[in-house]
């Protein structure tokens, strides 16, 4: 059967509502949701409703239906109006595009008191449909009869009816309740003789027609639940395949007329409509009903004039790009603010707006919404060929297209066929440039030959432009280098031989090549066949859409579970798993993979808070708990952390050794208190008191001033001593409970400033002081200490030019700046501190 033209169909449902249809039956709910009692009529209406839902779902204006009932108490049909007769057949729903009301109306149908004749209904159906369609000859006509076949049928002249249906190309479906079905198989016990005769009649009727089927309702409902795919034949679009310079050197160039069509085309789940419950007020509840309204989207354009009128003087904060200017803190509260801000903004009509592009923070108006496009000419140009074995399978960007020689021209077909065959024989692919229509954006891609049983074609797939490829660097998985630059053969990151063997066995054991269905000869296919792998999201969403359309209350009638067809490939075949069990377990034992517990992110001392999902950096820091748990003092204490002093310090890698081990026992590290630089003990075990000197430091945290004075007196390490004392002061100031040492620290600073001034370490002092301020005023700093420093006044501030000059030194800082500096920065920092909390 040729693929149907989508839409352009009128379906007539002829529903038997004779008294016999009121018989109750027990219907199993899908899944294990138990059973429910309903009449045969309700049961058969399920079928009608599912069919109509599908039409509503597709939403085609040209997909219409009408419902006739037979066995109705009254008579209401066009044949009766014209000629009389055909009693108890009623036009229940006139032919139209169905909608939600159609479904609601069907729910109101009840079995009647009189019996109706399906053949009468059939004749009325044919007429009603024919009358409605009039001259629309090309429309598809479908008729569906639903009956229990329990009532007598007037069968004479049925051949006439069949002839008419054949003439009109009608597709007839007879759905019988509890009709015998050899395929299920099903045979009704104690079938009445009338029903037996009727079933026989329906067989004869459908057999006499080319496009008719007869089936049982239960089979029909089962097949409706199966995920169905609309087989869409892809549309052929004309194009030209060009080789060489067809304009300038036509005798040496070629143009082949081709048709293109899609091979793959990504289908997406149907979208949901949005609804809102009508106001909670009295009127909704009066009659015990609740109304839900379908919502419409409206796009509003807002402008914040205020923001652009007065430029608030906030130089502390870098100006963020406007528009989507969510602040860097970007958490939920900010989003709330954002919304609040939008509330206050003024609405602008779309007509007042000008289209344009953003060029960084500049705006470029472009009223047309696009610039003139690059001139391109429709067609597919071949740019060259390459060996198919070099094709990079990970590069294709999108869907695959067929390219056929023009089906109307033998010559074009042969030309294309010769290229496809030659490419296939030579094992090459072509690079091609595709322009879908004149002026369209060019795409680059690859052509691959495809040789079918009786036709040759090319397949095209789009490949990336230079702009589309990212070249990120990744550390090597295979070659690991240690600090000394040596290649490491054994490491927890590298699989051992034993582990590799376990993995090899696992890969063999989980081979799917022979795990699928058997063919006629008993050979197994690979497991997972694309042709039967249904997109679960599409079909589940569809099922849910249908469900909510029919069911009045989802609490009473929850969604049945997904059809097993949708989830059949979600887990490997059970038999295979069973056989692979040992290999899987061996793998688990060999690799010992363990989750790394998540760490809580603390704020950094400098306020550079990393969002939790910020990808690399925070995770990278996850393995360095000592640094992070102590962030407030990291700037100064970093060197005091863990590395034994015997080791040369490699910048930024103090904790390297510990890390490589602890990656696998990460909990171990949490115990260590990095604020206590224990390794320093190893320097001078003879000392009674730990001087608290970090490796590489000449000043310790225990007696900083004493260490400093000692070094200064030696005279040769002044710069180092100044620098180290600065670090140590900051470090101590930022430790918890440092307040008892504030006086000592001020002493240190006094000495430090003094020395700096005299020994021409003025910049060092100024830098130190700036650092200290920043550190103290940061989130986990020590504001109290800074206040104390500030109270020392000018004598503890920056060293200015004039002051430096007195001692023969140089300073970049002017006296005014030095004077105001402490005060000024304090204020400005205060302004921002609340944001840290």
């Amino acid at each position: 059967m040729p693929a149907e033209r989508a839409g352009y169909t009128v379906t007539m449902f002829l529903v038997d509502i004779s008294p016999s249809m009121g018989k109750m039956r027990t219907v199993e709910l899908p899944g294990d949701q138990g059973t429910v009692e309903m009449t045969n009529l309700q049961w058969s209406l399920q079928f009608v409703k599912l069919k109509i839902q599908e039409m509503i779902f597709d939403g085609r204006k040209t997909d219409q239906c009408g419902v006739l009932t037979f066995g109705s108490d009254d008579t209401n049909n066009i044949v009766n109006e014209r000629n009389g007769g055909y009693d108890h057949v009623s036009e229940f729903i006139p032919i139209a595009q169905p909608n939600y009301t159609t479904l609601a109306q069907l729910d109101e149908l009840e079995p009647s008191e009189v019996i109706g004749d399906p053949v009468d209904a059939l004749i009325v159906g044919i007429d009603t449909q024919d009358f409605y369609l009039g001259k629309k000859k090309s429309w598809t006509r479908k008729i569906v009869i639903l009956t229990d076949g329990e009532n007598p049928i007037e069968v004479e002249d049925w051949e006439e009816t069949v002839k008419k249906m054949i003439d009109l190309d009608i597709i007839l479906t007879v759905v019988g309740i509890d009709f015998d079905d050899e395929e299920i198989p099903f045979k009704e016990e104690e079938k009445s003789s009338i029903k037996e005769a009727n079933e026989q009649f329906f067989h004869t009727l459908t057999d006499a027609m080319p496009n008719a089927v007869l089936g049982s309702l239960s089979a029909a409902l089962t097949s409706l639940a199966y995920p169905t795919i609309k087989t869409v034949k892809s549309v052929l679009t004309g194009s030209v395949l060009r080789i060489g310079d067809v304009d300038g050197r036509p005798e040496e160039a070629a143009e082949i007329m081709v048709k293109t069509s899609k091979y793959t085309s990504m289908a997406r789940p149907k979208s949901w409509k949005k609804f809102g419950k009508r106001g909670g007020g009295g009127d909704a509840d009066e009659d015990g009903k609740a109304a839900y309204a379908q919502l419409v989207m409206r796009t509003e354009y807002l402008v914040d004039r205020a923001e652009h009128d007065d430029d608030d003087d906030d130089d502390e904060k870098p100006k963020l790009p406007k528009g989507k200017g969510k602040d860097a803190d970007g958490d939920e509260t900010m989003e709330g603010d954002e919304d609040a801000r939008k509330e206050q903004m003024e609405r602008v009509e779309k007509e007042e707006l000008i289209r344009g592009f953003k060029y960084g923070s500049t705006y470029v108006p472009c009223p047309d919404g696009q610039f003139p496009r690059l001139h391109t000419i429709k067609g597919i140009d071949i740019c060259g060929f390459f060996k198919a074995e070099h094709f990079r399978r990970e590069l294709p960007m999108g869907e695959v297209h067929y390219i056929w020689g023009d089906p109307a021209s033998a010559q074009q077909q042969v030309a294309l066929s010769s290229i496809a065959q030659a490419m296939s024989v030579k094992g090459v692919m072509a690079i091609a440039r595709w322009v879908a229509r004149d002026g369209a954006d060019a795409k680059m891609g690859v052509l691959s030959p495809s040789i079918f049983d009786s036709v040759d074609c090319l397949l095209f797939v789009q490949m990336p432009f230079a702009d589309d490829v990212r070249k990120y660097t990744f550390p090597s998985l295979e070659t690991l280098v240690n600090k000394k630059g040596e290649v490491v053969e054994k490491h927890p990151y590298l699989p051992t031989e034993e582990q590799q063997d376990a993995m090899d066995n696992f890969v063999d054991a989980m081979d799917l090549m022979y795990a699928g269905e058997k063919d006629e000869e008993g050979n197994r296919y690979p497991w997972h066949d694309l042709r039967y792998s249904y997109n679960p999201a599409i079909h589940r969403t569809k099922q849910a859409l249908f469900h909510s359309a029919v069911v009045q209350d989802l609490a009473m009638n929850p969604m049945p579970p997904p059809h097993p067809e949708l989830t059949k490939y979600f887990e490997p075949p059970k038999k295979l798993l069973k056989r692979a069990r040992d290999a899987i377990e061996e793998c688990q034992t060999a690799f010992k993979v363990k989750p790394v517990p998540k760490k809580v992110v603390r704020q950094r001392k400098d306020g550079h808070v990393q969002a939790r999902d910020d990808d690399d950096e925070p995770l990278l820091l996850d393995v360095k708990p000592p640094r992070r748990t102590q962030t407030q003092s990291q700037m100064t204490s970093i060197k005091s952390e863990t590395t034994p002093v015997a080791k040369p310090i490699a910048a930024g890698s103090d904790t390297e050794d510990e890390e490589s081990d602890s990656a696998h026992i990460p909990a171990k590290k949490e115990g260590g208190d990095p604020a206590l630089p224990t390794p320093a003990r190893s320097i001078s075990p003879e000392m009674a008191v730990d001087p608290g000197r970090a490796p590489g430091r000449i000043i310790g945290t225990t007696y900083p001033l004493r260490d400093f004075e000692k070094n200064i007196s030696q005279g040769d390490v002044v710069s180092k001593a100044v620098e180290d004392l600065g670090h140590v002061v900051t470090e101590i100031a930022l430790k918890p409970f440092s307040s008892r040492r504030h006086a000592e620290l001020l002493e240190c600073m006094k000495a430090l400033r003094d020395t700096s001034l005299k020994e021409d370490e003025i910049d060092a002092w100024n830098d130190f002081l700036r650092d200290l301020k920043r550190a103290c005023l940061s989130a986990h700093g020590n504001q109290e200490f800074w206040t104390e420093v500030r109270q020392q006044g000018r004598d503890m501030s920056l060293i200015s030019k004039p002051e430096a000059a007195q001692h023969g030194g140089i300073s970049a800082i002017s006296e005014t700046v030095a004077e105001e500096w402490q005060h000024h920065i304090l204020i400005s920092i205060r302004k921002r501190t609340p944001r840290h909390y």
Partner: protein
């Protein structure tokens, strides 16, 4: 990667494609940190242009311009700053630490900022000594300690860069020994660099080497910059120092910067689960798990979409866009949290449904149910229907022969997977063993993937890629990892609309093979780097010209994707001619096609066209032929007779 949010489609609960944009919208900040020492300022003959003088500083600034020009389009919210060190810097910018001047504060990229820099460069072209005067170097022999440089960078980034942005310093210098061997400066350099790193800043060095002054990173930089030591634990720190780079040509610097232009960001960080060891499975049907990060190495770079602006007279202001959902009758917006989801009520439901109600309800679509009933789904329900209740993750289902992944099993670009040791310890060794095994056995993996919380499950092929060593200096080698290639569903496949066709004979095929062979690149493959997107470049060039208030010259635009026809004809011209002759002789080509779908009469006419074009021309001149001819040339056949004739005329004109 859509560089702009799709403003008019904010409602994204079902569109998977949108998901990646919010990650990409994270801002990127680059601080160019450029050495201004005498050797950087020393002028030399420009390698590309005769009679022009250039300097390393000039080259560095020019690359800063180029990077900004790219950034401004790719990430309009990204910011760039420029800091000079080893300069007195009098008159320009502000001093951070002695000898460290901020020339351009970290600001969102904009046309005026770029133009400012371009003007400086233009002036420097005219007067090669300009840069040295503008940015006077420190006295000969004095250099600022690198510790100060890193601290300056730290301060600038801390104070001026948005907090959540990714922050990078592009360090450009030609001095391999900035401290002239002074040991005491080494430690501060190290510590300040650590501070910088801890503040979330990545330092990307670009070392200038020239034959006269080769750059030896081992003198100083290897000891302070963080190389990719295994014990680093810093998985994603970029792999170590580049080999010494020669950036005397700006192209080289730009090429190198291209690798770093976009900060490396993972699209997702999830687990890959192995099959459970018993058929019953663990509680979630999954066995051993390892950590995985996914990266987009191939993503279509699109033109930015236009936005709406309001003209406030003196200034253009972008309009914020908000989508509201309304109950049309009541004109009341419904908050997102109260929105419910269901199937359309159909085209004309309202009219019939509301008949018995009074007037006001007639316009909108409503559905009435008994009070207390819940006829619609919540947003969470709807998400579950998409995901089928599965949590994000990649579920390994088994293995197939590599040949099972066919060319045509393709719907969407691939993603790249790399192990994440930080979420599961042991991920790397497991991942590596799996990779090795699959490469050795020539297998692909089959997996069920849910990459994001809201994404639908898809089946994917896992294509192993063994790492390849870097080629050339500073080059980029193929990393080891898996390509995750989404497989089509049955729903995505289309039936072939053509089942039969005329096929070429042996001789025609051989004739085709002859010219194909001549046009075949040896050892080549499809080279993405050779094909910049012409339409995108054309658009961006106009955008830039417009932003700079310059004329755009379409003539100057070069489309590099056009076939190299001269080379093609030189190599294969005569062979193409022979193939066309063979085609004429091929018996199959002279068949008359009978198809069921179209009338025979038409077919004959169409075949005629192929046989004798000159006849057509005469027919055309008589005005007796239209649709059939156009159809045979894949031209549209719609329109009135006059239009058809015009179209034929056009075709004949363009195909003399």
């Amino acid at each position: 990667m859509p560089p702009y949010d799709d403003w008019n489609n904010i409602d994204d609960e079902e569109d998977e494609l949108q998901d990646s944009s919010f990650l990409d919208s994270k801002r990127d900040v680059i601080l160019f940190c450029i050495d201004c020492s005498p050797s950087m300022l020393a002028t030399h003959d420009d390698p590309t242009y005769e009679d022009l003088q250039s300097s390393h500083l000039y080259t560095a600034l020019e690359s800063a311009v180029q990077i900004q020009k790219k950034k401004v389009i790719v990430g309009p919210a990204d910011s760039v700053g420029i800091l000079f060190f080893n300069t007195e810097g009098s008159g320009v910018g502000s001093e951070i630490k002695q000898g460290n001047y901020i020339y351009q504060h970290i600001t969102p990229t904009s046309a005026p900022k770029i133009q400012e820099l371009m003007q400086l460069l233009e002036a420097a072209r005219e007067d090669p000594t300009l840069l040295a005067r503008e940015f006077p170097p420190l006295a000969e022999g004095t250099r600022v300690p690198m510790g100060d440089v890193f601290t300056s960078c730290n301060w600038v980034l801390r104070d001026e860069a948005p907090k959540t942005a990714s922050k990078r310093v592009f360090l450009i210098t030609d001095c391999d020994d900035p401290h002239q061997g002074v040991e005491r400066l080494l430690v501060p350099a190290k510590t300040t660099l650590v501070d910088l790193t801890q503040a979330g800043v990545t330092v990307e060095p670009f070392f200038i080497s020239d034959p006269a002054r080769p750059f030896d990173p081992s003198k100083f930089y290897t000891s302070i910059l963080l190389p990719a030591h295994i014990d680093e634990g810093e998985d994603d720190a970029d792999a170590g120092l580049p080999d010494r780079l020669s950036i005397t040509r700006i192209d080289d610097l730009l090429a190198q910067m291209r690798f770093h232009e976009v900060p490396k960001r993972a699209l997702f960080s999830i687990t890959m689960s192995f099959p459970p060891s018993s058929a019953k499975g663990s509680k979630d049907g999954e066995g051993m798990k390892i950590g995985i990060k996914g990266y987009g190495l191939v993503t279509e770079q699109k033109k930015g979409s236009y936005k709406y602006f309001v003209d406030l007279g003196d200034v253009m202001v972008p309009a914020a866009v908000r989508s509201v959902y309304l109950d049309e009758d009541q004109q009341a917006p419904v908050p997102r949290s109260e929105m419910l989801f269901g199937m359309s009520l159909g085209a004309t439901a309202a009219a019939a449904d509301d008949e018995d109600e009074e007037g006001d309800g007639s316009a909108g679509h409503t559905r009435t149910v008994p009070a207390g009933s819940r006829p619609y789904f919540t947003a969470e329900d709807v998400r579950d229907f998409r995901t089928l209740g599965l949590e994000p993750g990649i579920r390994l289902l088994g293995f197939k022969d590599a040949s099972e992944l066919r060319f045509e099993d393709q719907v969407k670009h691939s993603l790249f997977l790399y192990p994440d040791e930080m979420s599961y310890a042991g991920s790397k060794r497991t991942f590596t063993a799996l990779l090795r095994s699959m490469v050795a056995k020539n297998k692909i993996g089959l997996a069920l993937a849910i990459t994001r919380r809201n994404s639908a499950p898809i089946f994917c092929a896992l294509l192993p890629q063994r790492e390849e060593a870097e080629e050339g200096s500073g080059g980029w080698g193929e990393p080891g990892g898996f390509h995750l290639i989404p497989l089509p569903f049955a729903d995505d496949l289309r039936a072939a609309p053509v089942e039969k066709g005329c096929r070429a004979g042996e001789e025609t095929r051989a004739a085709a093979a002859a010219w194909i062979g001549k046009l075949c690149v040896k050892n080549g493959s499809y080279p993405p780097d050779s094909y910049p997107n012409p339409s995108l470049a054309y658009h961006n060039a106009q955008l830039e010209a417009s932003a700079f208030s310059e004329e755009f010259d379409p003539e100057a635009f070069e489309d590099l994707t056009l076939p190299k026809i001269d080379v093609m004809h030189k190599r294969a011209g005569p062979l193409l001619k022979e193939w066309k002759l063979a085609l004429m002789k091929d018996e199959a080509a002279s068949q008359v096609i009978e198809t069921t779908t179209t009338g025979t009469k038409r077919k004959v006419a169409a075949t005629d066209v192929d046989v004798d074009e000159s006849e057509i021309r005469s027919k055309y001149e008589d005005g007796t032929l239209s649709k059939d001819f156009l159809k045979s040339k894949s031209q549209p056949v719609s329109g009135k007779k006059g239009e058809l004739i015009e179209r034929i005329a056009e075709w004949l004109d363009s195909h003399p």
